[in-house]
């Protein structure tokens, strides 16, 4: 990992964070005083990824053209890190015709075929789809890989098991990523999961399993690099569990009354911590940090501007696109 790599990862993490922070503000801006989830410029459920940037950035740093990512109900960080156009993505979240999906998909259904990016709001169901993408890549003789993401709560869903076994038996180029943010809505990991590391489950499929502790983007980068290389080399799938942090509620509006670890959440924020470590190692200056943030803010501003200025669809457009 070079100093440039570090800076690039930091920059991407900040870009994502500034995005999520602004979306949060915009989301809440016009829902008061009587808070209504369906109201406002951004309606519906909103699952933000703030705190989980190390996972997306550390993994996607290894991806190239033709590689696929399937993400979850909490998809923004992976979408951005994988190169999905911020304008089109934002316009989708705003339900506009210029959105990735012309307003039909929304924040849990972002589809960008050019970047082979997709996501789904159904727990763990992206895992099998990634196996099929990997089948296609392998059959076509490319060295592309498919990355599939879920949360730690999702690792108790049957689809998880079926996909790992399938990818292992067929030796598919898949990297299975679990973002362990300790919580599945209000249920703590310990109450839902019969082991402390899902990496241990990899052995049941005869594939490598690694758990990365401490929400550390550089450690993620290392572990993901090994998994991606392995997949590209035709050696098959790997499982990567990343211990990360849900900085916010499960979705916006979640009061988190259940959350026992709420007090220490802010101090575990990976971005200030990474900034401090980069400054200590001399890879980042205060001025650079300001610049990175300003650039991110400018890009986010522009994307939101683009979205707001884009037209809303017409009611009758709802009848299109059922069949090709």
């Amino acid at each position: 990992m070079t100093s440039l790599d570090r800076l690039a990862m930091y920059t991407e993490m900040v870009r994502i964070r500034q995005y999520e922070t602004r979306i949060m503000q915009e989301y809440h801006a016009d829902k008061t005083p009587a808070w209504d989830i369906g109201a406002g410029l951004i309606p519906g459920e909103m699952h933000l990824s703030a705190g989980q940037e190390p996972a997306a950035v550390g993994v996607c740093a290894h991806l190239k053209k033709g590689d696929a990512v399937t993400a979850t109900h909490r998809p923004h960080h992976f979408a951005l890190a994988h190169g999905v156009d911020m304008n089109a993505m934002t316009a989708e979240i705003y339900g506009r015709t210029t959105g990735l999906c012309k307003g039909k998909g929304g924040h849990m259904h972002l589809f960008d075929p050019e970047n082979h990016f997709s996501c789904s709001g159904i727990i763990a169901q992206g895992y099998p789809v990634a196996c099929g993408q990997a089948m296609a890549m392998k059959r076509r003789g490319t060295d592309n890989v498919a990355v599939a993401v879920t949360g730690e709560g999702a690792a108790n869903q049957g689809a998880f098991h079926e996909a790992l076994n399938l990818a292992a038996v067929w030796n598919l180029p898949v990297v299975f990523v679990i973002e362990d943010n300790d919580w599945a809505i209000s249920v703590p990991r310990g109450e839902s999961t019969a082991n402390t590391s899902n990496a241990d489950r990899a052995a049941g499929y005869g594939i490598p399993g690694v758990r990365v502790e401490n929400n550390d983007v550089e450690a993620v980068f290392e572990a993901a690099g090994a998994a991606v290389d392995r997949a590209r080399a035709g050696e098959g799938p790997s499982l990567l569990e990343i211990h990360t942090l849900r900085l916010l509620g499960h979705f916006e509006g979640d009061a988190q009354a259940y959350r026992s670890d709420l007090e220490t959440v802010d101090e575990r924020d990976p971005i200030p911590r990474y900034a401090a470590s980069l400054m200590e190692s001399g890879d980042l200056t205060e001025a650079q940090a300001e610049e990175v943030k300003a650039a991110a803010d400018a890009e986010v501003d522009a994307a939101i501007q683009f979205a707001i200025e884009s037209p809303l669809p017409q009611p009758e457009d709802a009848l299109d696109d059922v069949f090709a």
């Binding site: 209504d36 506009r96 259904h109 869903q157 599945a184 709802a318």
Partner: protein, 344 residues
């Protein structure tokens, strides 16, 4: 049992639909140690749509059980517990997630009693949130009651208001059969969602039952029959009130359950009005609206002064963006226009 024989007067205590559901569950739990609740976030959180509000505080983690995200696992476990004589109330958070556990629901929960020749009972309630209207898009906004009602062996209950929600839940828990209890998010009376005032209403404090299988005439009328259910009952009543001002008399039939289906209530009303509008937030084809139309067509099509009108989601997945979603939902405006069309 503390329930009265005939449903009591509503009284003057105003309660949301969500709270009414939770109250009914709580009353049954106090009465019967075999009743317990299980599902995702039903514990401290109280159910994402409030269906288990305050139960955790009263009954604790032993009887109000948060589960892993393993719907096949815990719905199957509910079936196993029911087979052993317990009375589990299991929540599937959104009905849209049925696809990860439909085998347990339709091949096991619904069939074991029949397959066993009646030897085994499955006294279980499976409750799930349905419906859209708040931009939750294609995987979190469906109604799907037609899907379940098509499959034999489970009762399907769909309350439209707090009173019925409480009484039907009590009936469902006491029923010796599996009951699928589908509640519309938009009719829960949640503080964080747009709502019709009809989602907060007078509900008795004590336990009572509303019988499963009896439709309600939510409003009497003579010109047009609207057959509907769940949140669309609220919309239809609004429209009926409005059209009354224009001299149009609309009868609103609230089905309240799809299985068993109160066919006679439909036929009696259509016999009176000669005009039938079915309003359904589920997909249009091969579902509820077709079944209701068929009931008339197979009984006596000459009852109809006009062809049947069906207002339902026009066979498209639920889109995200508000103008698109309201383009396909059965809104008050569309209901009103459809009633007028039937009279034109």
């Amino acid at each position: 049992m503390t329930a009265t024989e005939t449903p009591p007067d509503a009284g003057t205590r105003r309660v949301t639909t969500a709270k009414a559901m939770a109250e009914a569950i709580g009353l049954e739990m106090r009465d019967n140690p075999e009743v317990f609740v299980m599902g995702e976030d039903v514990g401290a959180y109280g159910g994402i749509f409030g269906s288990t509000t305050d139960l955790f505080a009263e009954f604790g983690a032993d009887r109000v059980i948060d589960t892993p995200i393993s719907e096949t696992g815990f719905i199957g476990a509910g079936i196993g517990a029911a087979v052993e004589g317990m009375r589990p109330v299991v929540e599937l958070m959104f009905v849209d997630f049925y696809g990860v556990c439909m085998d347990q629901i339709s091949n096991h929960m619904a069939k074991i009693h029949y397959e066993s020749g009646g030897a085994v009972k499955v006294p279980m309630v499976l409750m799930a949130a349905t419906g859209g209207g708040y931009s939750d898009a294609a995987q979190h906004s469906q109604c799907l009651w037609g899907t379940f009602a098509h499959l034999p062996g489970m009762k399907v209950v769909v309350p439209s208001n707090p009173y019925d929600a409480k009484g039907l839940m009590a009936s469902a828990i006491r029923d010796d059969n599996p009951v699928l209890y589908l509640f519309h998010k938009g009719a829960q009376g949640l503080v964080w969602m747009e709502k019709n005032p009809r989602s907060i209403a007078d509900v008795p404090e004590e336990a009572f039952t509303v019988p499963i299988g009896k439709a309600a005439t939510a409003r009497e009328g003579t010109d047009v029959t609207i057959v509907t259910l769940s949140l669309s009952v609220q919309h239809s009543l609004d429209v009926a009130e409005e059209l009354a001002g224009e001299g149009i008399s609309v009868e609103v039939i609230d089905l309240r359950s799809l299985v068993p289906l109160d066919r006679q209530a439909v036929l009696d009303s259509v016999a009176k009005t000669g005009r039938l509008l079915v309003v359904d937030e589920d997909y249009k084809s091969f579902g509820l609206s077709g079944e209701i139309a068929a009931i008339v067509a197979e009984t006596d099509p000459t009852m109809l002064a006009k062809p049947v009108s069906r207002l339902a989601v026009p066979d498209v997945p639920i889109p995200y963006s508000r103008p698109l979603e309201y383009g396909i939902l059965p809104t008050r405006e569309k209901i009103s226009a459809a009633v007028k069309d039937l009279l034109a």
